[in-house]
């Protein structure tokens, strides 16, 4: 009997192999089943950007002091779409594939991580939009701050993996949490410096706002175009909270893995 396999079960190589297969499956399903395919990952942030740009610069004539505002918006909206779509997929991470989880023995954390990976790929695919707007918007600055971009991505991956390990098993056990998560996400959109910047927050809210790890991460994303947005406290607090969520997520996941498997 020939024993051909990609690494033994439990090895990192096998883990990456399975992770990649499932993420590629997600992308394939997404892009193979609809005409608009690729456009979907770009259209959503684009329409949102257009709306906020119109409301804030044309209707209220009250910009946040950042020019060009459209670049300011898109540079945080694209990562927000990554965050938002990942977290809303976490709520059904186990349910959607319950039959596969019930029949195939692969490390359970893959069900979370494959969402982070496939949504992350979609984020990368959507970056050309940001590049186009940066090139064609007059007055865009561009600098060495771009080096913070990969750092921001790494932090966001850690944050998302931690949150996924937290949200996915909890949602599988407590059905109410699925809707709660949706509500929290909607509130979080306005509580996060996407359409405004951290320094726009009045008084005590500036401090409270920096405890939102996304504030620090989005600040880093914007460094390439808006170096004056640098906010050391926010970035440091964001990084610490990101790591804390990651550790908490690992613990919760390990504790809840057993009941989740029984529940499916």
């Amino acid at each position: 009997m020939s024993r051909a396999a990609v690494g033994a079960p439990g090895t990192p190589r096998r883990y990456l192999h399975s992770l990649w297969l499932l993420s590629a499956r997600d992308l394939k399903v997404r892009y193979a089943t609809s005409f608009l395919g690729y456009l979907w990952s770009v259209l959503d942030p684009l329409v949102m950007s257009a709306i906020y740009w119109f409301v804030f610069t044309q209707v209220f004539k009250r910009d946040v002091g950042e020019d060009p505002y459209i670049v300011f918006l898109i540079s945080a909206l694209l990562p927000w779409v990554w965050f938002n779509s990942s977290v809303s997929d976490f709520t059904k991470a186990f349910k959607k594939d319950s039959r596969l989880v019930r029949s195939t023995n692969i490390p359970r954390s893959i069900w979370v991580n494959r969402i982070v990976l496939s949504k992350g790929m979609e984020f990368l695919f959507s970056l050309p939009v940001l590049v186009l707007f940066a090139i064609f918007s007059p007055g865009t600055e561009f600098g060495w701050g771009i080096l913070w971009f990969p750092v921001a991505m790494a932090l966001q991956v850690i944050l998302l993996v931690g949150l996924g390990m937290l949200v996915a098993p909890l949602c599988a056990l407590y059905a109410d949490l699925e809707r709660t998560t949706g509500l929290i996400l909607r509130a979080l959109f306005y509580a996060t410096p996407i359409i405004y910047s951290v320094s726009n927050l009045p008084g005590p809210f500036e401090t409270i706002g920096s405890f939102n790890p996304l504030a620090g991460i989005f600040t880093l994303y914007r460094m390439a175009f808006f170096p004056d947005q640098w906010h050391l406290d926010t970035v440091l607090i964001g990084a610490v909270i990101t790591l804390a969520i990651f550790v908490l997520g690992q613990w919760v996941f390990r504790t809840l893995e057993r009941p989740v498997l029984k529940e499916l």
């Binding site: 024993r3 396999a5 192999h17 499956r25 596969l100 019930r102 029949s103 195939t104 498997l261």
Partner: protein, 246 residues
Amino acid sequence: MAAAIEVRGLGVQFRRNRRGRRSFKDLFASASRRTRPGEFWALRDVSFDVQPGESIGVVGRNGQGKSTLLRLVAGVLLPDEGSVAVNGGVAPLIELTGGFVGDLTVRENVRLTAGLHGMPKSEIASRYDEMIAFAELEEFQETPYKHLSNGMKVRLAFSVVSQLDEPILLVDEVLAVGDKAFRDKCYKRIDELLAEGRTLFFVSHNERDLRRFCTRGLYLNKGALVLDAGINEVLDRYNSDSMPQA
């Protein structure tokens, strides 16, 4: 030689009703031996060894823990006490059609499922034709999986999983589906696998199948392992137990 499957003091608890209140205290409670109200042991204190090449039939009435035992051996359920050690990989024929995605084509699904079980790309490529031929789906390779008939789905699943190189084969009542011609083909395939020296772990209500494939039987009743003996002895005991009380 090391045992293929080693089960020691295995126990797993389920909640009796799904709507039972689940408290956040569960988060902090370790899986200890105490029984909380509303929970019951689906399996308890089950121990046995399976040697490589053995073929074992699991017998018992509905709801006595047969499929639970299989899921524990497959590693898709974790025990609350005791342990399951499996030497080598497992090809699970449980939840047969579970791993497939409706929107992807037959071809993409085969690559995905075989890949998830660790089969490298080159190997999949070289066995692909054989799998499709076995499932008799030559005409449907580019058809989205969701458009296949139920019988075709089962055929595809069986043919992919039975091509895996894993030394242990788990079969959970899947052979009841499919038409007679395909069932005969499946039996032949299982015979071949047994002849190659694979270990078979078989759950079925069909006495003929059990006597045909298995040499040893495990009789489960109310979550406990009642009898571990030759398959004929186990089946006789099971039959006499399930006789209506005259």
